[in-house]
Every structure is written in C-alpha cells, then in structure tokens.
Amino acid sequence: MNVSAVQEFLLAFADDEHLMGQQHTEWIGVAPFLEEDLAFSSIAQDELGHAALLYGLVLELDGIEPSDTAIDDLAFARPGQEYRSCHLAERTTSQWSEALVRHWVYDTFEELRWGLLSESTLPALAAVTTRALREEAFHRRHADALLDELLQAPEARPRIAEALNRIAALIPGLCEPTAGEVAAIAAGVAADSTAGLLAPLTEALGARFGGHVDTGRVEAALSEAGQKATGQGSAGRTRRSKSFQPLMTRMREVLDYDPSAVW
C-alpha cells in the first residue's frame, strides 16, 4: 500500500470534516433560534468527531499514537498547501440561508462519500464509517426538515435560491479527488472515486431544490465538471481559496495566544 497516497486521500476527507465542523460551530449563540443553535452545534461536534477519527487513522498509518496533541498538530499546524479541503468547506459565510444550504449539500455529499468506505480494507476506517453513517442520517434529516418548511415559505424561498446560486460554482469541488485517491482505490481503502459521486449528487440536488427554485446555475456548474475527464486540469485539492487563511486565523485565535500552552 502506498501509505502517503492513502494518507492524502484520508486527509481530504478529514480536512473537509474539520473545516465544516468549525464553520458550523461559528453559529453557536447566533443561529436564528435557540433550539437550532443547539442542534447545529451538535451536528458540528459530530463532524469534528469524524475529523478527529480520520486524522487519527492518518497518524496510525505512520505508526504514530493518535494522541490529542498529534491530532491537533495535523488539524491546526500544517502549512496551507498541505491541506486537501474543498473550497465549499473553506468558504466564509455570515448568512444563515447559505449556512443551511451548504449544510444540506455537504451532508448529502458526505453520506455518499462514506458509502465508498463501508467495505474498506482498513478495518478501522470501515468501523468509523458505520458510526458516521448513523450520525449522517440525522444530519440529513435535520437539513431536510428545515428546507421542507423554508422552501414553502414565500419570504424564505428566494433567500434559499440566492444562497444556492452563490455556492453553485463550489459544489462540484466536493467531488474533486486528490492525486492519492488512485492508490487508495487500488489498495481497497475506498471502493470508487469521489468523482463518481457527481452524478448522484446532481440527482439529489435536483430532487431537493428543483420545482422550488431555479437550479440552472447549479446544474451548469455540475455538468461542466462532469464533462471534464477525471483529474484533467484538476489541482487535486492542492490550492487553497481566499477564505482559507482567514478561517485558519479564526480557528487558531486561542491557540496562537500561547502556542506553548498545555491543554
């Protein structure tokens, strides 16, 4: 098994989960109502938990004990170019409509993504997958329940449409594989390429939003991505978006007060 390639493959998932979890937690105290505040930050904790487990697997492949400190080093202390997050997870938003739409899109994709790992030859990864899929079913149901209501509300529907359009161009990036994915599939760590999830994701987006709002821009972005041959012209998640550094700075704010502090 090509260890560093498999690690890169796992890091892409771990980084997405980590950044998404962090961004969701930023709604603590400012979500539109108290119950949602609790629910959304609880979902955020689940995502951070997945990230920690995945970072742990990356460490174990190097024979390193996945201690909290070692996991934190992976999560917070790598240089930007070593992250493999997608730009949707990096994006900063201050609008609840966008956070909610992204929550639905991300978790819909995430459920598909875990589906590629349930038969993994890495037993620890298959075990993490079982747990994660149980939690994801709830995440999706939560996002769906809110959207079911809001897409019927004349005041909310245009805001949802606007949010979907704003993030449309970033959605295909979820399915962008890392260079290491080929080796991960060859070793049976993953069943198939994340690029193959573009089709089911497109279908799910149509079923969720089509008939309620204009999904033209999302469809255009997804079909453009679909037409590109896999990997062609792709940076393999090696480039960071302009939102990344400000996000890291927010995430590291407390850490940076005293980098030598013991937690």
């Binding site: 609790l38 629910a39 979902i43 149901r141």
Partner: protein, 104 residues
C-alpha cells in the same frame, strides 16, 4: 408554530419524565430539535412529544377545593397516636389487641 412538551424515559423501569418544552413549526422539526435540545447527552433513550394544546388541563379553581382537606393526607401519625393511647388505656397493655374499640 406549536409548543411541544418533551418527555424522556431512561431504559429500565423508570417512567417518562417531563424534560422541558420547545417551539417548532412541524412535528418532524419538533422531534429533531428535541433530540438535540434534551437528549444529546443520552439523558434518555425514549422520547415523547406532546403538543401543549393537546394537553387536557384542568382549571385551577377546579382542583383548588381539594387543597384544604388535611384529613386526606394521613401519614399514619394520627392513627398511630390513637392506637398508642388505646394500648396504654387497655388493662392488658402487653397485648397488641385489635384497637378496634378505640378506632371506631
């Protein structure tokens, strides 16, 4: 929007207990939000929701007349003291007796 009363039950022989309330626009949202607001730390493994406007509540004055009937609150003290008095009054104080005479 409706207010839902949340009840939780732990495994075993414990009964459902009132955990709190929340406001939601649908039953599905009420369930999802109740799970995170009240059961995210596994405070219970069974969850009931009851819409507050489905609770049959009695008016205060309907129950109030029962508030000043201390004779319905017998903790046994009154009976015990009368039994004790009956025993002491009995010529054979060592026998437990029925106490029936004193308690009529």
């Amino acid at each position: 929007m409706h207010v839902y009363e949340v009840f939780l039950k732990k495994d075993g022989r414990e009964e459902f207990r009132h955990a709190g309330a929340l406001e939601a626009s649908t039953e599905e949202l009420a369930l999802l939000l109740a799970r995170e607001a009240y059961a995210r730390r596994a405070e219970g493994d069974r969850l009931w929701l009851v819409r507050r406007d489905h609770v049959i509540a009695a008016a205060d004055e309907f129950v109030a007349p029962n508030a000043d009937k201390p004779h319905r609150h017998h903790d046994g003290a009154a009976v015990a003291s009368r039994r004790r008095a009956a025993r002491e009054a009995s010529p054979d104080s060592s026998s437990s007796g029925t106490g029936g005479e004193a308690l009529r």
